[in-house]
């Protein structure tokens, strides 16, 4: 880390590894939220946060290798995340209709 | 460094002109609607009511801002800021004219020429939904919430036909940059028919234009699609709990959105700043002639005044119009001001169509509105895109 800090050249641009560290930080924040939160919608939002962090690292690698396939993969991740959000929120609506609660601790049995 | 200074100056000019224009678009709207309804409109505050926007601004600023009880304070205050921010930021990619040189620096009449300019406008207009949804929810009022949700659902539903209708001329122009799209519409077919996207190309984009205008009416919550915010439906919808400057912010956002969508229609379908007939046939004289004509009308009515003070104000306006006509005819300024004039003329025509339709049509019921979007407009836009793509592929 110290070598990396010393080798910063202000004209050379931001090192790619910093983008990856940012992606790792966002991902771990998403994991923390996923494990700690109780409301099912917030848990779902932390999943989206994790997906965004992964997208950022894909785009960073696409920049490093100068290929566009990283962008294509990010595009597909975005599309799948949108589809997942739509179906997941529909499921949440159904669960709320049946269980009257959004607390995941109380939705803990298949039988009502 | 000079880039920053030039950009700051452009920013100041565009912001000042835009904010003044927003106030005066409201004056034009009130006058036009009044004359359609055979009455006068604002005529007391200043000559012909021209100081009415100023009076409105003073009233709105000095009014008491009442916050409803148990409203979520942060989001209640953030919603109009968000709405206005998104509405104003989309003006930053709209080109108003060609490049010109001043004091040795080349300046574009545009804040920034993004090479994904059209996508930027679509992105910012999708973010504009947040202001309205938050305003509806944060007011702690059932009617407000329903109006906000309805308005957001309407805006999202009509974004789809709007984007598809925008994609068709993009296929023909081949670029996403707004300046590039206007440049691809330069020139004349047969010597006198302009190569605008609605007249020419493998498939004249008249259907895209109509679909885009209909979707634009719904996106900006204008009549006939203004059920979520009408005064006599749902007690004025999502902005019922807002007063003074927050209310003014929502109105500024609405008019600014109107200016944006009319500008986008002008740039993509009506050829931007290219004149209607070629310069060789004298289109450079259209601007001074129209302005001089307006001056002559003012002078004539000033000499036969209908009201006593018209004897003074109308000739003053005539002098202003003749001055502008002279400015437009000044040879060194002609290549700079004439494209700007044509762009503003087309923009004003589309804004006048918006106001005209507001004065004329009744509003849709909400379920009619949504089924119109999903069952008619979206398939029509898809079909239009398919036909355009097929013809473009056939031709090239």
């Amino acid at each position: 880390m110290a070598e990396a800090m010393q080798s910063i050249n202000l004209q050379a641009g931001v090192p790619i590894s910093w983008y990856l560290v940012l992606s790792a930080v966002l991902f771990s924040l998403g994991v923390a939220g996923f494990l700690f939160r109780k409301s099912i919608i917030t848990v779902f939002m932390c999943i989206e946060l994790m997906l965004n962090a992964v997208n950022l690292s894909f785009v960073a690698f696409a920049n490093q290798h100068k290929q566009v396939s990283g962008h294509i993969f990010t595009f597909f991740v975005m599309v799948v995340a949108a589809a997942e959000a739509a179906v997941g929120l529909a499921i949440i609506l159904t669960v709320f209709k049946n269980r009257e609660t959004l607390n995941i601790d109380e939705i803990n049995s298949l039988k009502n | 460094m000079e880039f920053i200074i030039i950009t700051l100056i452009k920013l100041a000019v565009i912001a000042f002109v835009l904010l003044t224009a927003l106030a005066y678009i409201q004056w034009v709207e009130r006058k036009v609607i009044a004359h359609v309804q055979v009455r006068m409109g604002p005529s007391r505050v200043g000559p012909h009511g021209l100081l009415q926007p100023l009076a409105d601004v003073v009233k709105l600023i000095t009014k008491e801002g009442v916050m409803p009880p148990h409203a979520n304070k942060f989001f209640y205050l953030a919603a109009p800021i968000l709405a206005v921010f998104m509405a104003l930021i989309s003006i930053s990619v709209i080109p108003f004219g060609t490049e010109f040189t001043v004091l040795g620096h080349r300046v574009m009449m545009q804040l920034t020429d993004l090479n994904v300019g059209v996508l930027f406008i679509l992105a910012v207009s999708s973010m504009g939904v947040y202001g309205i949804a938050l305003a509806g929810w944060a007011s702690n009022n059932k009617y407000s919430l329903l109006g906000g949700l309805r308005s957001s659902a309407q805006m999202i539903s009509y974004e789809l036909p709007m984007s598809l209708a925008l994609a068709a001329p993009l296929l023909i122009a081949g670029t996403l940059s707004l300046r590039g799209i206007v440049d691809s519409q330069a020139g004349y077919n047969l010597g006198f028919i302009p190569k605008w996207a609605i007249f020419t190309g493998p498939f004249p984009q008249i259907f895209s234009f109509i679909i885009f205008m209909i979707a634009a009416f719904a996106e900006t919550n204008r009549i006939p699609f203004d059920l979520p915010e009408a005064e006599n439906e749902l007690v004025a919808g999502f902005h019922v709990e807002y007063s003074s400057m927050s209310f003014a912010a929502f109105f500024m956002a609405e008019y600014s959105n109107m200016v944006t969508v009319c500008s986008v229609a002008t740039l993509l379908f009506l050829g931007g700043w290219h004149p209607l007939w070629p310069e060789s046939m004298g289109s450079n004289f259209a601007a001074p002639l129209i302005l001089a004509g307006a001056g002559a009308i003012c002078l004539y009515h000033g000499l036969n005044p209908a009201r006593p003070f018209d004897r003074f104000t109308l000739p003053a306006f005539a002098v202003i119009f003749f001055g502008l006509a002279g400015l437009m005819a000044f040879p060194p300024l002609v290549p700079v001001l004439t494209p700007l004039f044509w762009f503003l003329a087309k923009l004003s025509f589309l804004l006048f169509v918006f106001i005209w339709i507001r004065a004329t049509l009744p509003r849709f019921r909400y379920d009619q509105l949504m089924s119109f979007a999903w069952k008619f407009l979206f398939p029509a836009a898809l079909l239009n895109l398919l036909v355009t793509g097929f013809l473009v592929a056939l031709v090239s």
């Binding site: 931001v14 771990s28 179906v87 | -």
Partner: protein
């Protein structure tokens, strides 16, 4: 200049992400997530992915998050209650999280020491034209499969949500 933009928007992204995890009310979490997505979009611009930046705002921040906000408003989800949390989790959680982040960061910095740098305009291949070309030639099959996936998702969402909210 690149450093300034990177630090500014990375700071905004991390602050909004912390806000997503920490806020009690779901609407505040949702709006913080919109902030995260917007700052990630700016970082994409810096990485040369201009089409992807606009697509992120149009799709993620402009559609998916609006859907989240709709559902939160429809379900009238209130602020979470703080009851029933174990003290052990509250005490051990944040330090373990920081340890996870630090170890990930350390592993990354050790694994990519050189790696290349990012400036504006260092990668010009992210234009709409390049992405369109790649999508329709190399990645045509995944593209078509994804369209079928979206269709199935739309049908699923309509069937699931149809009879419930009346």
């Amino acid at each position: 200049m690149d450093f300034l933009f990177f630090f500014l928007f990375a700071f905004i992204a991390v602050a909004c992400a912390v806000s997503v995890v920490v806020q009690k009310h779901p609407i505040a979490s949702a709006l913080s997530l919109v902030g995260v997505m917007a700052s990630i979009a700016v970082l994409y611009l810096q990485l040369g992915a201009e089409f992807l930046a606009m697509a992120q705002i149009i799709v993620y921040a402009g559609a998916v998050m609006v859907l989240f906000i709709f559902v939160i408003m429809l379900l009238n989800a209130g602020a979470e209650s703080r009851a029933g949390r174990s003290y052990a989790a509250q005490l051990m959680g944040p330090p373990l999280l920081v340890a996870l982040m630090a170890s990930l960061g350390f592993a990354i910095m050790r694994g990519f020491p050189g790696g290349g740098t990012v400036k504006f305009d260092s990668f010009q291949g992210g234009t709409a034209q390049n992405i369109g070309y790649a999508l329709f030639t190399d990645y045509l099959l995944p593209f078509e499969v994804t369209s079928v996936l979206i269709l199935v998702a739309i049908l699923g969402a309509i069937v699931l949500a149809r009879k419930e909210m009346d």
